[in-house]
């Protein structure tokens, strides 16, 4: 791949009256394989089986690894809960974090973490065994989100006002972790790296720029020696920080559903053609709770709304929960193909 290839591929498809279809789907793969979140996020072969099943069943143009916001934090030794059927999570740390604690964190080699190695093995399997025309994507925890997982979200929010130095030190550290994991993923075969920065969505534009946007911008700049395409995904209503998301220099921005307040047309209007806009069928209202008929009409409506933008990629607003009915996923893919 080469930088901005996503946009070029999207543009080429657009010329042929087609679209890239790339739902953020991982967990429903277990419904196909009979596995669980817990097993698949700890076992590379089970993880791969879910990826393979999704590709065989739905033929998406991009296949994303399981969304796992605990991967890097867990590799850094943060206490993590692994329920059998729900995504893993990190409880708010009881003790507050001090700059001195960073010294200990810096000693940890995340590449030696077995779960992270598992994700990389899964990516290698994907690169070796999946059809070459399906782009392979992995998720990376964004700098402010990782800082918030280490500090606790509320402390991180308050630190944007009251403990800026500590937070900057932590974001600086977090972004280095992101870079290290990104490079490992690229070596394993990832072609698209999707930076997840959900916690950044709660910040004011100024705070976002200071504690997230600027770090991501620097990261993307440093990653220019690689061919991977970098996408920035933030869930929830991001209309107040769209300009700053675009300023990071990402090859694509992936956004949440209309129901959360995101207006994809407004976003597309201000997005340069060499950057893709990815979104944004509601993962809950439509994909989880509606029936296939409503999924189909929602996709058709979105495709129609975005019909003049060559750099649009059809996707879901956020990761799909395992409980999404498979017939809804089929309806999503079929409607996307029929109306492209």
């Amino acid at each position: 791949m080469y930088r901005r290839e996503l946009a070029e591929q999207a543009g080429n498809k657009f010329k042929n009256n087609e679209r890239i279809i790339a739902p953020l789907v991982g967990f429903p793969g277990f419904t196909l394989t009979g596995s669980t979140v817990k097993v698949a996020t700890q076992n590379s072969r089970e993880h791969y089986k879910a990826m393979k099943a999704l590709v065989e069943q739905y033929s998406p143009d991009v296949i994303f690894q399981l969304m796992d916001l605990t991967l890097e934090a867990n590799a850094l030794g943060r206490f993590t809960l692994f329920p059998v059927r729900d995504p893993s999570s990190i409880p708010t740390p009881e003790e507050s974090f001090e700059i001195a604690d960073l010294k200990e964190l810096k000693k940890i080699d995340i590449a030696a973490d077995s779960r992270m190695q598992g994700y990389l093995t899964t990516m290698k399997l994907m690169a070796e065994e999946l059809p070459k025309d399906v782009l392979r994507a992995s998720y990376i925890t964004g700098p402010f989100t990782l800082a918030a997982l280490i500090l606790g979200a509320e402390r991180a929010a308050m630190a944007t006002i009251r403990k800026k130095d500590t937070l900057h030190a932590l974001c600086e550290f977090s972004v280095k972790i992101a870079e290290k994991y990104m490079r490992l993923q690229i070596d394993a075969g990832a072609q698209v790296l999707c930076i997840l920065e959900p916690t950044g969505g709660m910040l004011s534009p100024q705070q976002f720029q200071e504690f997230s946007g600027d770090y991501i911008k620097g990261l993307i700049e440093r990653m220019k020696d690689t061919a991977a395409n970098i996408v920035l995904h933030i869930c929830g209503n991001t209309m107040h920080i769209i300009d700053l998301m675009l300023e990071t220099g990402a090859d694509g921005i992936s956004l949440d559903s209309r129901e959360t307040g995101v207006d994809l047309v407004v976003v597309a209007e201000k997005t340069p053609e060499e950057v893709v806009v990815i979104g944004n069928i509601s993962p809950t209202e439509i994909m989880l709770l509606a029936g296939p008929g409503r999924v189909k009409s929602a996709v058709e409506e979105l495709m129609d709304t975005m019909k003049t933008y060559p750099n649009f990629i059809l996707s879901t607003g956020c990761d799909l929960p395992q409980a999404v009915p498979l017939e809804n996923l089929s309806a999503f893919m079929e409607a996307g193909r029929e109306s492209r």
Partner: protein, 213 residues
């Protein structure tokens, strides 16, 4: 005194806890009652915070800092309010659903309700349906708030409401739900009384719901 109350409100909005606390003490020394300081200083300040939050003129970090400043002042006023026999008319029990550790939004909602002169009992995160039922029995709130950040845990809201119904408690309490994956349609579908997209509008919605009782 009016100026002092306005200063308290202003420092709440600015999130300056030290100033809010010292101004609260000054107002008490000058003879203001705890209730006056609460309503004309703290609540009035948090009203502005709520409005500016809803208008996206303030964001979660600033609202948290403001709410903390209010909480610090409330610590001083609470014993005085209790001694004066002043009780809030409204009691909110709030918690995040079982399996969900996200509590920042829910805590914020709780603090903003405190700032709107509600008595708030915050159960915390990862609360089982049965624990909500027990809390209703124990605290007898007129409002119950349930929060979920995950598409998996939001489904527990439905289960909890059904359990509240089966325990015969549904008519004793208005139920509001919120959180990132929740929509008005979902709230209606599971039989909640109300939904709000953020903490600021939640207070407004709650007042409407409780006024209709």
């Amino acid at each position: 005194m009016k100026e002092l109350f306005e200063s308290i409100a202003g420092q709440i909005v600015a999130g300056d806890s030290d100033k809010v606390v010292s101004l609260t003490r000054e107002a008490l020394e000058k003879g203001a009652t705890a209730e006056e300081i609460l309503n004309q200083g703290l609540v009035s300040g948090m009203d502005v915070v709520g409005e500016r939050f809803a208008a996206m003129d303030m964001f979660i970090p600033e609202v948290l800092v403001a709410a903390m400043a209010m909480t610090d002042a409330l610590e001083i006023l609470r014993p005085l309010l209790t001694a004066a026999g002043i009780k809030s008319d409204n009691r909110l029990v709030i918690g995040t659903m079982e399996g969900d550790l996200h509590d920042i939004g829910q805590r914020l909602v709780g603090m903003i309700f405190e700032g709107a002169a509600f008595e708030v009992i915050n159960l915390g995160a990862d609360i089982k349906p049965q624990a909500f039922v027990e809390a209703i029995k124990k605290h007898k709130p007129n409002l119950l708030g349930m929060s979920a950040m995950l598409t998996t845990t939001m489904l527990k809201m439905d289960e909890t409401i059904k359990l509240i119904e089966s325990e015969g408690l549904r008519d004793t309490v208005k139920i509001m739900v919120g959180g990132a994956p929740i929509s008005p349609d979902y709230a209606e579908k599971i039989g909640a009384d109300g939904y709000a997209p953020n903490a600021a509008t939640a207070v407004k919605k709650a007042r409407e719901l409780l006024a209709s009782v």
